[in-house]
């Protein structure tokens, strides 16, 4: 059986890759891609902890309570909503500023 730490390590790596992308990207779509990676790192942890530590009794006889899976479903729905609104905002800004690079987004300063 795969130890639980390996899922945590995978999720930590995915999270750090997402953080690095969100910090360094100039392109707004690239930043959204990195945010999707971060949300998926959280999801892996939720599902893995739900499988390994999700039973009610200490014997492993009772069925697993699927709280982690339900939360992961919610995270998927919220990620979908976030990326829809984010991409539409990016397209609206692109129409106005003719650029996708974040240093060009200073519409509120003027």
């Amino acid at each position: 059986m795969i130890p639980l730490e390996h899922f945590c390590l995978l999720s930590a790596f995915l999270f750090c890759a997402g953080i690095y992308g969100a910090l360094t990207r100039r392109n707004a779509i690239g930043i959204l891609i990195s945010i999707e990676l971060i949300l998926n790192a959280a999801n892996i942890n939720l599902v893995a902890f739900n499988k390994y530590l999700g039973t009610n009794d200490g014997l492993g006889q009772a069925p697993t309570v699927p709280s982690g899976q339900v939360f992961a479903l919610f995270v998927v729905a919220i990620a979908a909503a976030a990326s829809v609104v984010g991409l539409v905002l990016i397209i609206a800004i692109y129409r106005h500023a003719k650029s996708l690079f974040t240093e060009g987004f200073h519409l509120m300063k003027e």
Binding site: C16, L23, T24, R26, N27, S34, I44, G54, I78, V85
Partner: protein, 161 residues
Amino acid sequence: MSEMLFYPLAASVCIFAGLAVTQKNVFHCALYLAMVLLSIAGIYFYLDAPFLGVIQILVYVGGIITLFVFAIKLTAHIEDKVIRQTSQQWVPSLMITGILLCVLFRFFSQNPWANPNLGKPTTLAQLGNFLMTNYAVPFEFISLLLLAAMVGAIVIGKVKK
């Protein structure tokens, strides 16, 4: 499912995630993101969450990646390879991320969890029952949020005459 399937899936998640945040061509990045999400769906299947894996493929790979591809194609000439894609702060960002990764790796490798006792895997009927009883109110709020996001996307994306 075979246990050794996890490590190839995890390796492909790591490789494609690294490519998705470092490649210059944004269209390729979206395709690498699709590969990451497919590998994560495989990990969900391994973790006895087949419904979540199917939802991951349907919503993410079928929906969100399509949206990303449309957004990249609608905003022309951004996949030009000569344009620099990383900001000037990439060195401190890399240092911060590396330090965070080292701290997390040390923490997880030094604090192993006690022997877990696996319960029976959840069936889809149990999951649906749980979703409609214990989490009924958050479920309704999610549908409200999706409706608000849809209406907001239409309003923001409309071309003003």
